[in-house]
């Protein structure tokens, strides 16, 4: 008999069963393993006959003992902000990189960026530190400093070759994200920006679990105007709601394209259903602004430059500044201190 193609289980169930500590296994995980860290470890139907069953079943239930260590490590971080989107390629990393640059323009603030996109890390390239490597000291891993006050952590720094594929399943990704939080010497940061991969899966659940105790300030959700994208972003907002992550605001990226020759504005990704603004209204979350599509943003990212420094007068830069100021207000900061007007 075929297994039933049941509807997906409620999000609340997944969130209510965070990962446990991973036990030391005696044999590789079998095909239908529920995951040695999961609540069903050792007790699921597929565990019968597995050499690991006893070990999995006897691992103490309850929260991961590493959680207090993470909380202690991040005690000096003032604002932890996630950048999320259900959809890929809408500009999560671009926005993260530009937010980091914007926050770092104030020399008194220290900013950290953590890239949790394990399979497609873009942050190192966008911040111009692609060829750096991590240094390990007795007290932990030192992040890579892109500027005097901008620290970066990404799996890209750990790859022997730039183009190596990271073919990892969920549990391995969770392990690395934990290490990024537990073992990296973030020090005293004013902002920790967490860039995420698209979707609502392992990485998102892990970041949520690991940071819960040390409190997440909230999430910035990025979208593009067309419904195909809004559809996935709606799922991400649903996830945040259920996980109790506050949504600081929605940013609509790639809104209009102004032809450099005739200055005709085209809606490339046409907002047939009202775009980000309508979605923010529908969901009752703040709308932080629309950022137009400017080829120079992409170029600044390819070369790892700050778009704010390179093209300060462009409309896209003005729009981005507006977004940063709106975000600063949402987290209770004076916008003029974060990004000075003008």
């Amino acid at each position: 008999m075929a297994p039933s193609l049941e509807a997906p289980e409620p999000v609340e169930d997944v969130l209510a069963n965070p990962l446990k500590q991973k036990p030391n296994l005696v044999a590789p995980e079998p095909e239908h393993c529920p995951g040695p860290e999961s609540e069903q470890a050792g007790t699921a139907d597929s565990c019968a006959g597995c050499p690991n069953q006893k070990i999995c079943a006897s691992t103490p239930k309850g929260p991961d003992p590493d959680l207090p260590l993470i909380t202690a490590r991040l005690a000096g971080v003032k604002h932890k902000i996630l950048v999320l989107s259900g959809k890929g390629g809408v500009g999560k990393s671009t926005l993260t990189a530009q937010l980091a640059h914007a926050f770092a323009t104030n020399p008194d603030s220290t900013v950290g960026v953590m890239d949790t996109d394990i399979c497609g890390p873009s942050i190192p390239k966008m911040l111009g530190v692609e060829s750096e490597t991590i240094h390990v000291s007795s007290s932990g891993w030192s992040p890579v400093w892109a500027m005097d006050n901008l620290a970066v952590m990404s799996i890209q720094f750990m790859l022997p070759n730039r183009d190596d594929a990271i073919i990892w399943r969920g549990p391995k990704k969770n392990g690395l994200i934990k290490q990024f939080l537990k073992d990296v010497e973030w020090g005293d940061l004013d902002f920790l920006l967490v860039d995420t991969p698209p979707g609502t899966s392992d990485e998102h659940l892990s970041v949520n679990t690991f940071l819960k105790q040390s409190s997440i300030e909230g999430a910035v959700v990025v979208t593009t105007p067309q419904e195909v994208s809004l559809l996935d972003v709606r799922k991400e907002i649903d996830f945040c709601r259920k996980a109790g992550i506050r949504i600081l605001g929605l940013v609509e990226n790639m809104s209009l394209f102004v032809c450099p020759k005739c200055t005709h504005a085209s809606e490339i990704f046409k907002a047939t259903t009202g775009g980000g603004r309508a979605l923010a209204h529908e969901m009752g979350i703040p709308f932080l602004g629309s950022v137009p599509l400017d080829p120079r943003i992409g170029m600044a990212c390819d070369y790892g430059e700050s778009f704010f420094d390179s093209f300060p007068d462009s409309p896209a830069c003005v729009a981005l500044k507006h977004v940063v100021r709106g975000l600063a207000e949402q987290i209770g900061l004076d916008p003029n201190q974060v990004v000075p007007e003008g």
Partner: protein, 309 residues
């Protein structure tokens, strides 16, 4: 195995999100169908399925049959018009509400991918296109494992890899090409999407995301370059609102005039144009480009044997 009646399986992959895997999958499917082949599309993007929206069948629900599930029919074969049938399967059809989040960890995703491969009843198909989420993780490993184990070697034709031109995208897609090498999946070719945007007002072409990055990458990895696809907002309008693409007078693609004949009325209300998506797509400026790409993909599939790698 429910794939037994499928002749060729083609994966659509990309390390980067939002480069157009789903829209490329959709257009390959339409193009193959226009060429008279019977096509199936399997969407294994579990947390962000876009395929139901692409084919405007978001309200469809999967029917259960003894021992498995029946895919959703988009349109039936029309031998007189030379059009092959098109069927679709996606997790989107199983969700009670379209805005619901699907929050799954790896093992659950793996199980679902396996189920999709083993329990969906595909009828006789010339091509099964598999649309994937971005990355090289659970879904991809499970797909590769299951297909390499269970599909007949001549069935698994290979992968079409999609990228956009800018370096930030190709950096991730290079990882995907290495994934294909490591898992032994043959790369049928690379498509560079969003390569240039033609201003509808002045016909000036701007390379919003630069241009040429995909071709350079294909050369570096010694795989076939299938072509560049420009951004056509009319294609998005077709997907989003069901309107037949219309172009101002004098619009040319590869020297062929595709502008909408003068005098044809344009209904500016919210209604969808009647007719099948596959027929409306023929008026899109991208259709001739995909016609060529599809022919190249077919010839690459038929060559077989992994000569390109």
């Amino acid at each position: 195995m429910s794939l037994s009646k499928v002749k060729h399986i083609v994966l659509v992959l990309s390390g980067k999100g939002g480069v157009g895997k789903s829209s490329i999958t959709t257009q390959l499917a339409l193009s193959l169908s226009l060429a008279g082949h019977s096509v199936g599309v399997l969407d294994v993007d579990l947390t962000g399925p876009s395929i139901p929206r692409m084919f405007a069948i978001e309200d469809a629900k999967v029917t259960q049959a003894p021992g498995g599930w029946l895919p959703i029919l988009v349109h039936d074969a029309d031998p007189s018009g030379g059009i092959g049938s098109l069927r679709v399967m996606s997790l989107g059809f199983l969700l009670p509400r379209r805005g619901d989040a699907v929050v799954w960890r790896g093992p659950k995703k793996t199980a679902m991918v396996r189920q999709f491969l083993s329990d969906v009843f595909w009828d006789e198909l010339d091509y099964l296109l598999i649309d994937t989420p971005p990355g090289t993780s659970d879904e991809h490993i499970s797909l590769a494992e299951t297909l390499l184990q269970k599909a007949r070697p001549e069935q698994l034709a290979g992968a079409v890899v999609v990228t956009t031109p800018q370096a930030v995208a190709t950096a991730d897609v290079r990882k995907e090409l290495n994934f294909c090498t490591k898992t032994g999946i043959r790369v049928l070719g690379v498509i560079e999407n969003m390569s240039g945007f033609v201003c509808p007002n002045c016909s000036e072409c701007t390379n919003i995301f630069m241009s040429g990055g995909g071709e350079v990458m294909a050369k570096d990895f010694n795989v076939r370059f299938l072509g560049r696809i420009p951004i056509d907002p009319q294609f998005l309008v077709l997907i989003e609102t069901g309107k037949t693409p219309r172009y101002p007078e004098g619009t040319k693609v590869n020297g062929q005039d595709i502008s909408t004949p003068a005098g044809e009325t344009v209904a500016e209300d919210g209604t969808r144009d009647s007719g099948l998506l596959v027929h409306k797509y023929k008026s899109c400026s991208l259709a001739p480009i995909f016609n060529t790409i599809t022919a190249d993909v077919i010839s690459a599939v038929q060559q077989g044997g992994g000569k390109e790698r």
